[in-house]
């Protein structure tokens, strides 16, 4: 089998074919989603989770830090947006800023504890902190509404100069979310191909060597966690707009596990675009398999197990091998030893 590092280095081109496809698909989704049997709101969900997954992959795939409690920062962003609307002002940008700020601060505080650790200890601490946030959301009724969550979170209008857009219209809301997701993904593309992204990947490959060539590894790990939490917060703010509510379930261990599955199944360990594939597969599986059986998550779970066992490089790696074969190049697949 091929190994993760047999996949060619991530492309450094300023514009690439996958990026073009991504932008075109996101920009045209409202025109064809219904024609393929899907619906508008699914596009909103996919766009939000793509944003969440791509930000998560900065930490997981690029820096090699395994967070299993990242749903907490999605939830914090969602609550922060809702609380801002309820207690500060009805403001789109104010709410989104509050979502990013709250998740960033939470990520920065947690990251300060985590960044001394690595491996299993790091992963366990992320779960621990994730549970603390989830439990707090459940118990702080006066702030979060407890198990019921924050309800009636408005979708403020989008005002650009003289134009005002009503985001309660799902089609308009989709364009808004898609635009933010595209902008955020382009920014992430820029970051991972800049020196900052190379240092994060260096830390993933060899923390000790990075330290001995002069990098303050603790600070970089902290930075990666904080940035990742900030993107999760932004996704959370959009999520609370989409749902018009914020509730503890998004902070649960279950939700944090789903984002890990999406990234792994998609191939986030070997490709910048892997998480996009993982998110699309998850939501399409949920809607298509979910229409056939209530036990769709069982089948998705089995798919995850098979993927990890047979193709640990995920859908992106599988696609890479298929493209090489169809283009007539020699496959990098090496025969298994007997």
């Amino acid at each position: 089998m091929i190994t993760l590092s047999d996949i060619p280095a991530r492309s450094q081109m300023p514009l690439t074919l996958p990026m073009g496809i991504f932008v075109v698909v996101m920009a045209t989704a409202p025109f064809w989603l219904a024609r393929v049997g899907l619906y508008q709101y699914l596009g909103v969900e996919i766009a939000i989770w793509v944003l969440f997954a791509m930000g998560f992959n900065l930490l997981f795939g690029y820096t090699g830090l395994h967070s299993f409690g990242h749903g907490a920062y999605l939830g914090i962003g969602a609550y922060a947006f809702g609380l801002f609307q309820h207690h500060a002002a009805i403001s789109l940008w104010g709410g989104l800023f509050a979502a990013i700020a709250a998740a960033s601060v939470a990520g920065a505080v947690v990251g300060a504890f985590l960044s001394h650790r690595r491996g299993i200890y790091y992963a366990l601490l992320t779960i621990g902190f994730g549970q603390v946030f989830w439990f707090s959301a459940m118990k702080l009724h006066w702030l979060t509404g407890g198990e019921d969550g924050l309800l009636n979170i408005p979708r403020p209008d989008l005002v650009i100069g003289p134009w005002r857009f009503d985001l309660n219209d799902n089609a308009v809301f989709y364009w808004f979310v898609a635009a933010i997701t595209i902008a955020a993904v382009l920014l992430m593309w820029r970051v991972v191909n800049a020196p900052v992204g190379r240092v994060l990947q260096a830390i993933r490959q060899n923390e000790t060597r990075a330290r001995f060539v002069g990098y303050d590894v603790w600070r970089w790990k902290w930075l990666a966690f904080t940035i990742s939490a900030a993107f999760a917060g932004l996704a959370g703010g959009l999520f609370s707009m989409a749902q018009q509510s914020a509730y503890p379930d998004v902070m649960s261990l279950h939700q944090s596990g789903i984002i890990v599955m999406m990234v792994l199944v998609g191939g986030g360990l070997v490709s910048f675009w892997g998480p996009v594939l993982g998110v699309v597969l998850y939501f399409v599986a949920r809607d298509v398999l979910g229409g056939l059986t209530e036990a769709w998550l069982l089948w998705y779970g089995l798919l995850f197990v098979i993927m990890v066992m047979v193709r640990p490089e995920g859908m992106a790696g599988l696609l890479h091998v298929l493209l090489r074969r169809t283009s007539g190049q020699v496959s990098t697949v090496k025969p298994e030893k007997a």
């Binding site: 590092s5 280095a9 450094q12 920014l187 820029r190 970051v191 191909n193 800049a194 020196p195 900052v196 992204g197 190379r198 240092v199 990947q201 260096a202 490959q205 060899n206 000790t208 060597r209 990075a210 330290r211 001995f212 060539v213 002069g214 990098y215 303050d216 590894v217």
Partner: protein, 247 residues
């Protein structure tokens, strides 16, 4: 005044005393060797001198500054660079990226999200110059993991050199190398000694005696003998020991 000095270094892990009393001084522009049997504490000594482990007692001075207990990245930035006995490279990165990451000029712009990694011709040229020193310029765009063992050893040294060190610590650079590769490495270090102060741990006594100006023999966590290669060869204790036989 010595460029690098260790005074009375002690290090223990739990009840096990690994370094009992290590004192050594490395003059600028020299090659200083550290030898001793397996388990003598040589690598731990390196780890302590370069900040990987803080010492329990004693002090470490670099260019007159006390660097005892400082973090490895701080010590590295001051000009102390090292290679490892077990190879420590960025295996999935290409050769030139391994070197670029270690360049202080790259580190200075490492926080920038706007630059292209390989877009700065000056940085690429700097990295190629370092690779040329170790004979790897022609393999700059290959993945580090695809290099031969000997070339990976050379890349280890290139990464250490890229940090623009004032002193270079090499931990068993010939480990696992064949005769030809060892000879190549000797030639490389002979070349490097003209520009750098070097401290090297080595099991290959011929290698060490050929290169070093001074040698410290470490045993039971202490420096038991110190001197020039000629002086050590004449030392009765070294002559009686297995170390002396090899020498």
């Amino acid at each position: 005044m010595a460029l690098f000095e260790a005074r009375g270094i002690q290090k223990r892990f739990g009840a096990r005393v690994v370094l009992e009393n290590i004192s050594l001084a490395i003059e600028a522009g020299t090659v200083h060797g550290i030898m001793g049997p397996n388990g003598a504490g040589k690598t731990t000594c390196f780890h302590v001198l370069t900040g990987h482990h803080p010492p329990d007692a004693g002090s470490i001075l670099f260019d007159g500054n006390d660097i005892t207990g400082l973090k490895p990245h701080v010590i590295a930035r001051m000009g102390v660079s090292r290679s490892f006995q077990m190879m420590n490279l960025f295996d999935d990165a290409v050769v030139i990226e391994n070197v670029m990451l270690a360049l202080p000029a790259f580190r200075a712009v490492s926080g920038s999200p706007l630059r292209e990694t390989f877009g700065d011709r000056h940085l690429v040229d700097l990295a190629l110059t370092v690779l040329d020193q170790v004979g790897l310029a022609g393999r700059a765009w290959e993945k580090a993991k695809d290099l031969s063992y000997g070339d990976r050893r050379a890349l280890e040294i290139a990464v250490a050199l890229a940090a623009e060190p004032r002193i270079l610590f090499l931990d068993e650079p010939t480990a696992g190398l064949g005769a030809q590769a060892t000879q190549n490495l000797i030639r490389l270090i002979q070349k490097l000694r003209q520009h750098y102060t070097i401290c090297v741990i080595e099991h290959d006594m011929r290698f060490l005696f050929e290169l070093a100006d001074t040698i410290s023999v470490v045993h039971w966590g202490q420096v038991i003998v110190e001197g020039t290669p000629a002086g050590l060869k004449a030392n009765k204790w070294v002559a009686r020991s297995a170390l002396g036989e090899v020498a």
